[in-house]
């Protein structure tokens, strides 16, 4: 990671193209939350395209409460040396110093995540200022475009993390896709007002209207617990899947992880899905999002 081993001059690293391109390479894959090097190895063995290092999985954050922060650098180092696949790690919303530390540790992607306690209730991190790429959560198109404006190179639907209830991820994916379709249907002279309504820059809104997709990769996250959940999200237009508590809070993590990987690849083949869904043991117990009081909903963090 030292300067001297850097292959080229500074001008060509950390470009939007290499940051967004990195996410393109993860498409069709599953990124798994891990809290220890041992879990990271299980995830890699199961075929994860990357692991997400964090201090506690969302289900535990929810159960234990308190302020949730970036992981201990020792733990992140341990995970980086345990696996050969990309390692992502979470920083608190707006906590640009946590993000600097994660970049210095050599993580491959930073998740500026609502799952951790926000560090700034007004500003997100200026992600253009970093060489490491960022992924951010979104519940709708306007939020996704605001994060992209700040430099996010990948977007994930937020869902409601740590619940095992996929309903919010479904809502967010449908919402983002619906709003994109709506933009595509608008005449050019109505895109100015659309940009105002979305609270996003006109240029970005115009680009989405023309291309029919975000300018960055769109994954899904939040409440995915079964192979069927992952496959449904792929069919709803996700380009890949984050699984948080769903794997290591289940009865047989290794087997469930492998099954979710297969289900993501063959998301449109019910025969494969039936086969991989068998005999996985208990799924995580789960909490209905409806039963969580509004102030405790993680998806409402960030704006």
């Amino acid at each position: 990671m030292s300067e001297s081993t850097s292959p080229t001059t500074d001008a060509t690293v950390g470009t939007a193209r290499v940051k967004r391109g990195m996410a393109e390479m993860l498409k069709g894959g599953v990124i798994m939350d891990v809290v220890t090097p041992e879990q990271a190895k299980i995830a890699e063995d199961a075929g994860a395209v990357a692991v997400m290092a964090l201090e506690r999985v969302p289900a535990d954050i929810r159960a234990q409460g308190g302020v949730s922060r970036m992981s201990d650098p020792d733990m992140i180092d341990g995970i980086i040396s345990a696996v050969s696949i990309p390692v992502m790690a979470k920083a608190r919303i707006g906590h640009f110093v946590e993000a600097r530390i994660l970049q210095a540790l050599g993580v491959d992607y930073v998740d500026e995540s609502e799952v951790l306690t926000p560090a700034d209730y007004a500003n997100h991190i200026d992600k253009w200022a970093f060489t490491v790429p960022f992924v951010c959560g979104a519940t709708n198109l306007g939020e996704a475009l605001r994060r992209i404006t700040e430099g996010a190179a990948m977007i994930r639907s937020k869902g409601e993390a740590g619940t095992g209830d996929v309903s919010n991820a479904t809502t967010h994916m449908r919402k983002i896709r619906q709003e994109i379709r709506r933009l595509q249907s608008l005449p050019a002279d109505e895109l100015y007002v659309a940009a105002k309504e979305l609270q996003a820059p006109y240029e970005l809104v115009k680009e989405v209207a023309e291309r029919g997709k975000l300018p960055v990769v769109l994954f899904t996250a939040g409440g995915i617990a079964t192979p069927a959940d992952a496959a449904m999200m792929m069919q709803l237009g996700a380009e890949g899947v984050f699984v948080g508590s769903g794997i290591f809070k289940s009865g047989n993590p290794a087997q469930r992880a492998a099954a979710i990987v297969k289900a993501t690849t063959f998301h449109d083949d019910p025969d494969v899905l039936a086969k991989v869904s068998r005999g996985l043991g208990e799924a995580m117990v789960g909490i209905n999002v409806d039963e969580i009081p509004q102030p405790h909903r993680l998806a409402e963090r960030g704006w």
Partner: protein, 201 residues
């Protein structure tokens, strides 16, 4: 065969970009996930992605033997980045259980340029492809450490600390690059491959 049918191995990775580039280069491009779908193509692209994941899925979904057989029978294959790793007979810094196809006689080092913060863009000239150097995008890319006697080196990194590293090779109908021409809209390499598929038929 004026319009060759070219598959893109669609188990994981940037499949859509390769399909679009191949279509732009004049091929009938389609994703391939099953042995039956492989039978219908004249050539195959192994896309960028996570090579450990692709290697695992190739075994799980029983694609390894059919692809090895087609390669032995002369089917052209192009691999970019993870696809290059999948076409190498030897991989360094991979997982112990990671295996590629019976492909190009070369040793490839995975993530050779470093982690994502070291990913970079740089010009690379490819012999056999006319015009300006490629604007090459390297993402946690491999490089080729050694090549066998039957392998032609087509391109190397031109400057910086990694100058001279091999990043594009060809062995018969098999082609591989460390970088991702599918991300830049430069179709020359895909045209080169489409011509190769046409010539092989």
């Amino acid at each position: 065969m004026t319009v060759p049918v070219i598959g893109v191995l669609a188990l994981q990775g940037d499949v859509r970009e390769h399909v679009a580039a191949l279509t732009g280069a004049g091929a009938d491009a389609r994703p391939v996930r099953r042995p039956g779908e492989l039978d219908a193509v004249d050539g195959l692209v192994v896309p960028g992605g996570e090579s450990t994941t692709i290697s695992k899925l190739v075994d799980i979904f029983e694609m390894r033997e059919p692809i090895d057989k087609r390669i032995a029978a002369g089917m052209p294959v192009y691999g970019s980045c993870a696809g290059m790793i999948m076409l190498a007979t030897e991989v360094l810094d991979g997982r112990p259980d990671q295996r590629g196809f019976a492909g190009i006689g070369m040793t490839v080092r995975r993530n050779a340029f470093g982690r994502q913060v070291d990913s970079f863009e740089a010009p690379v000239s490819i012999s056999g492809v006319d015009g300006d150097p490629f604007h090459a995008v390297f993402i946690r890319a491999p490089w080729v450490e050694r090549v066998g006697p039957d392998v032609d080196v087509l391109g190397r990194v031109s400057d910086g600390p990694a100058a001279g590293r091999i990043v594009a090779v060809r062995q018969g109908n098999l082609l591989a690059t460390s970088f991702h021409p599918e991300l830049t809209g430069d179709l020359r390499l895909h045209r080169f491959f489409v011509d190769l598929v046409r010539a092989a038929a």
